[in-house]
């Protein structure tokens, strides 16, 4: 087919309504908030939540996780749009969610061990974390990826990795609110390791998942 014929045929097709990445960010945040509220209603928040909120490391950890989730969601949507794919500043900005997440991890680890060294010991746990992670990966995670794919991502690995980080950070955030578990060992094994694993998986499979 000649290029001129291709141009003719493309010009005959109906126009597409412009979509803003900010709209997707807002919808995704709303849906995640609803999911958090729904899970809280079904399983109930941890009984000593208000007492824990008074502890500085807990509040800081919650805040950093929420910031990391929001930053990764915003950056994954922005970096997906071809407009922004070439800007150096945005490429640097893409590291911010990872920095926030790592700081949250470090703060949590250092302050917990400093204030409560006993928390290094494992406590008995059930499959609630796994269920929670799967809910966040399968509902908001899959939704983010599906919507980001529609934004024609030109950095698919980064977009996919950041979308998965957004979903898993929200999963971690919800676990801090719902699960009555104070062991840092448990957090390392059941919360942070799966997050890293899923984010790496997101990076590796990004090109295939976000093909357009």
């Amino acid at each position: 087919m000649k290029t001129t014929d291709l141009i003719e045929s493309l010009a005959l097709q109906p126009a597409a309504v412009p979509r803003s990445p900010w709209g997707l960010v807002l919808v995704a945040m709303g849906l995640t908030g609803l999911l958090l509220f729904g899970l809280g209603s079904v399983y109930g928040y941890r009984p000593e939540l208000w007492d824990r909120m008074g502890e500085p490391w807990f509040g800081l950890n919650l805040g950093l996780l929420l910031l990391s989730a929001m930053a990764s969601l915003v950056v994954s949507c922005l970096i997906a749009v071809p407009h922004f794919s070439l800007t150096q500043r945005l490429r640097l900005f893409a590291l911010l969610p990872f920095v926030l997440w790592s700081v949250s991890l470090a703060v949590s680890l250092v302050l917990t061990l400093a204030t409560n060294p006993e928390s290094i010991r494992p406590e008995p746990w059930d499959l609630f974390c796994v269920q929670n992670f799967m809910v966040f990966l399968l509902l908001p995670g899959a939704f983010f990826l599906f919507q980001i794919r529609k934004l024609a991502p030109t950095q698919p690995r980064w977009s996919s990795g950041l979308a998965v980080l957004a979903a898993t950070s929200m999963g971690n955030f919800s676990l801090l609110l719902l699960e009555q578990q104070n062991s840092i060992f448990h957090q390392i094994v059941c919360h942070w390791s799966p997050t890293m694993m899923f984010v790496l998986l997101g990076f590796c499979c990004g090109k295939k998942m976000l093909r357009w």
């Binding site: 493309l10 597409a16 071809p82």
Partner: protein, 185 residues
């Protein structure tokens, strides 16, 4: 240059509102820009033309992501660079495969023992000559020329089952002949 940018952004904004003429004009201008970009990276006219078409299709698929009022060229070149990288990745992967294939052919050529296979070929011809003419014809048609049992049956007036049985027996006989010559040697 600024005027040109504004024009492209305006054309895209009009295209998003359903103006087919503006869209066609825009795609025509994009084609020229892409031609200039790709000619400096690729040295094959056919490849350049193929890639331009691929990028124009990608642009068409992603046209809803263009934000009116923003500069058009970074958006276009974002897509173009993405497709160009994809093209190079596929190209080098194919090149690697072709080189691996060429190397294996070269190795096979080096390892090919002409004397051994010539003597085997002669032995096979002798074994075929040892078969009755009807059986030889069936083996020739099915095993050498590659016809199916049904096609051979149609040509020789036999049933497909009879053809299969006859060919099977002939092959068995040839194998025995080979075994015999192998033991003699």
């Amino acid at each position: 240059m600024d005027q040109n940018k504004a024009t492209l952004s305006e054309l895209m904004a009009k295209a998003q509102q359903g103006d087919g003429v503006a869209y066609k004009d825009l795609l025509g201008q994009c084609r020229l820009m892409l031609f200039a970009l790709l000619c400096s990276r690729l040295h094959n006219d056919a490849q350049v033309e193929d890639l331009i078409q691929e990028i124009l299709i990608s642009l068409h698929k992603a046209r809803h992501t263009y934000q009116p009022g923003r500069p058009f060229q970074p958006w276009l070149f974002g897509i173009a660079n993405f497709r160009l990288k994809d093209h190079f990745r596929k190209h080098y992967k194919r090149l690697d495969l072709e080189q691996a294939f060429a190397t294996s052919i070269e190795e096979e050529k080096h390892n090919f023992d002409v004397t051994f296979w010539a003597s085997k070929s002669e032995e096979l011809a002798e074994a075929l000559d040892g078969l009755p003419p009807k059986q030889r014809q069936l083996v020739q048609l099915m095993k050498i020329e590659g016809y199916t049992a049904v096609e051979v049956a149609g040509q020789t007036g036999m049933t497909p089952t009879a053809v299969k049985v006859s060919v099977h027996r002939s092959v068995k006989q040839i194998k025995q002949t080979f075994k015999g010559t192998g033991e003699n040697h």
